[in-house]
Subunit: 205 residues, 4 copies
C-alpha cells in the first residue's frame, strides 16, 4: 500500500468541501453537523473524513482527517493532524460492510421525522425516484432501515449490521441519515434522492 500523500489528501478534501457546501446550502448540515468520507485505501481500510467542529459550508481542502477501519485518526507524514468526526467509526464500518467508496451523513428534518413516524423502517414503493437507489420504480417495496441513536460507534455499528439489508441508506432516529455509493457523486445523488423520497412519503402520510 502506498501511503496517501498531502496532494492526494488535499484533492479529496477539496472534493468533500464542495459536497459539504452543497449540503450546507440545503440546510442539511446546520451548525457543524454531519460529515462526509471517501475511501482512500481498502487493504487495510483508510478513509478521508471531514474534520470535526468546522462549519460545513466553509471547509477548506485541509479540513480532512485520515482514519482507519475503527475510525481512529491515522497520522500521515507531512499532514497536520486534524481531529476526525466522532462518527468516523461508523463511516469506516459502512465502507467495510457494504463496499461503499463514499459515505454521506447529513441531518435532514425529513430523516428525523420519518424515523419518528416509522420506527420499524420507512417503506417506499411505486416511486420513479427509487431508481436512484438501484431499485424498481414499480412493485418493489424498499424498506429504509431505522436504527436507534447512540454516541457509541460500536453500538451503532452493531445496530447497522442487524438492520442492513442491501439498501444503500439508513436512518438514525433523532439524528439524520447515512447514505453511500461507489463514489462521491453517487453518494450525493442517493442522498438527494432519499430526501426526496422521504418527503414524498411524509406528504402521503
Amino acid at each position: 500500500m502506498t501511503v496517501p500523500d498531502r496532494e492526494e489528501l488535499r484533492a479529496v478534501g477539496a472534493r468533500l468541501a464542495v459536497e459539504a457546501a452543497r449540503f450546507s446550502a440545503l440546510g442539511w448540515m446546520r451548525a457543524t453537523s454531519g460529515n462526509l468520507s471517501e475511501v482512500l485505501r481498502t487493504e487495510p481500510l483508510l478513509l478521508a473524513v471531514t474534520a470535526s467542529g468546522r462549519d460545513k459550508g466553509e471547509l477548506r481542502p485541509d479540513d480532512v482527517a485520515v482514519v482507519d477501519a475503527r475510525g481512529e485518526a491515522v497520522e500521515m507524514p507531512g499532514n497536520e493532524p486534524v481531529r476526525p468526526s466522532a462518527e468516523a467509526g461508523l463511516h469506516a464500518h459502512i465502507a467495510a460492510v457494504t463496499g461503499a467508496r463514499s459515505v454521506v451523513h447529513v441531518h435532514t428534518l425529513n430523516a428525523v421525522e420519518a424515523a419518528r413516524r416509522w420506527p420499524e423502517g420507512v417503506v417506499l414503493h411505486d416511486l420513479e425516484m427509487l431508481k436512484a437507489l438501484d431499485r424498481g420504480a414499480h412493485g418493489d417495496a424498499v424498506r429504509v432501515p431505522v436504527i436507534a441513536n447512540s454516541q457509541d460507534m460500536s453500538e451503532l455499528a452493531a445496530r447497522f449490521d442487524t438492520a442492513y439489508d442491501g439498501v444503500p441508506a439508513v436512518l438514525v432516529a433523532g439524528h439524520g441519515s447515512y447514505v453511500w455509493g461507489m463514489d462521491t457523486l453517487q453518494a450525493r445523488w442517493r442522498t438527494e434522492a432519499l430526501d426526496w423520497l422521504l418527503g414524498a412519503a411524509l406528504r402521503a402520510g
Copy 2:
C-alpha cells in the same frame, strides 16, 4: 433537411444546461432525475435531449443527444455519441402530438402529491396564474391530466394520447410532470406556473 451540426447542437445544449441548472437549484431535478428537450427539425422530427445519468445541475453544452420521433439516438457527424434519456421517446411523442418545440420533465414533490390525491386529474380554477397555461383566470376549470407511470415509453405515449385534451401539461403518478411550450422559455414559465398552481391547490386541500 439540413443536418444539425456541432455548433447548433452545442448552442441548444448550452441553453438546456442553463435551464437544467435552474430546475436543479429548485430541487426539481434531484440526483440525475428529469430531462429537457428542444425540437431541432420537424420533418422528420429530430430533438435534442439532455443526456442520461448526469447531474442536472452540472450539465455541459455537449451533454445532449439527438433523437428521432421514436426517441432513438441518431448519430450526428462530428458529434460524440451521448446516451439520451430513456424518456426521450415521450418527449418526441409530445412534440409530435402537440406541436411543442420544447418539453420539460421534472420531478417535483407537488406533482407527485397532487397525482396521488387527485388520480382522475387535478382541477384548477379561479387562479390568475392559469393565464400562464393560456387559460382563463376566472370561471375556467382546467383539468391537468394524471397518467399512470411506466418504464415503457410506448405505454406512456398511449396513456398520454388518451389523457391529452389541450392542456400543455401532464402529471405522471409517482414520478413527476411533463410540461411543454413553443420555446424553451415558455416551457420554463409553464413548468414554474404549474408547480405554483399545484402548490395552491394542495394548500386549498
Copy 3:
C-alpha cells in the same frame, strides 16, 4: 413638468430589475407574473412599470414602460415603446389614492392561501413584524383587506377604494398581493414583512 429622459428611465428600470430578480428568486414572480412600479412624476401622475411578458428574474434596464394615471402607455421621446403590464392601471390608482411612490405586486402562495381562508380580510395582531407596516407590535389588530380578482382594472380599483383603510397592502383573491411604500426599498420591506406575517398567521391556523 420635465419629461423623464432615457437616462432617468433606465436608472429606474435597473432598480426595478434588481428588485424583480430578488422576488423571482424567492418564487414570488413565477413565469412572467407580478410587476413593480415607481412614481416618476405626480402632477400629472406618471409611473415606470415593468414590462409585460418578460421573465421577472431576467429584466434589463430597458424593460420598463411609462404609464399615466389610467395605466395607459405614454410614449417618451428617445425610448423604444414597451408594453406595460395590464395591471399598470391598479399601480397608478394605488399611487394616486395612497401617495405611494412605489408599488410591488407579487404572486405568493401565502397571499392566495390567506385570501381563501379569510375572505373578509386577514387580521394580524401581537406580532413584532407589524412594525414594518407602521403598526403596533402589541394590541393593534391590523386587517389586511382581501378583494375579489378581476381582469378589469377599473373594477379592481373600485374594490380597492371600498377596502382601503390605511394599511399599505391588499390581497387579491386567487391572485396575489399589492404592497406599497414611500420608496422602492420600503415597498420591498413591507412586501417581505407581509409574507412573513401571512406565514405566521397561516401556521397559527
Copy 4:
C-alpha cells in the same frame, strides 16, 4: 480600557454584515428585522450592534453602532454616529448575565410558532442536534424558555432573568429568538441548530 478605533469597529461591522447577509438569505431577517452584536470590551461593557433601519442583507462595515451596558449609543471618536437597534439593551443584558461574546436576534417563523404552541417553554430531547447547544443527545430534556414580548427593554431584561436557566437561547413570543455564544461563529451555529430543533419539534407536534 483602550477605546475601540474605527479600524476595529469596521472589522467587527464587516463580520456582522456577512452574518446578517447569511440570515437574511435564509428569510430570518425580513425587512429590517433582527440584529446582531459582538462584545468589544467587558469592563465596562461595550458592544457593537448592527444599525437600525437597514436592510440586513445589505449592511456595510460602517453600519454598526457602539452601545454600553444599558444599550445606549456611545460616540466613538472618528466614527460617524449610527443609530443602534432599539433592542441593543437586551443584547447588552444577555452579554452581561451570560458572559456571551456574541448575540444573534432573528425573526424565524419556527420561533414564533413554537412560542405560540408551547408558551411555557419548548422542551427538546433525544435529538443529536442538541449537542450544538452543549447539551446531551440522549435523555436530556432541554427547555428553551419563552418570554412575552415588549417594546421596553428593561421589561424584557427582567423577563429574561426570570426565565434564564443556562440554555443559550430564548424565544420572545410573537417576535423571534435570541441566541448567543462565545464568539460570532458559535452564535451562528447555535442559531441554526435552534431553528432546526424547533422545526423537528413542530413536525413531531
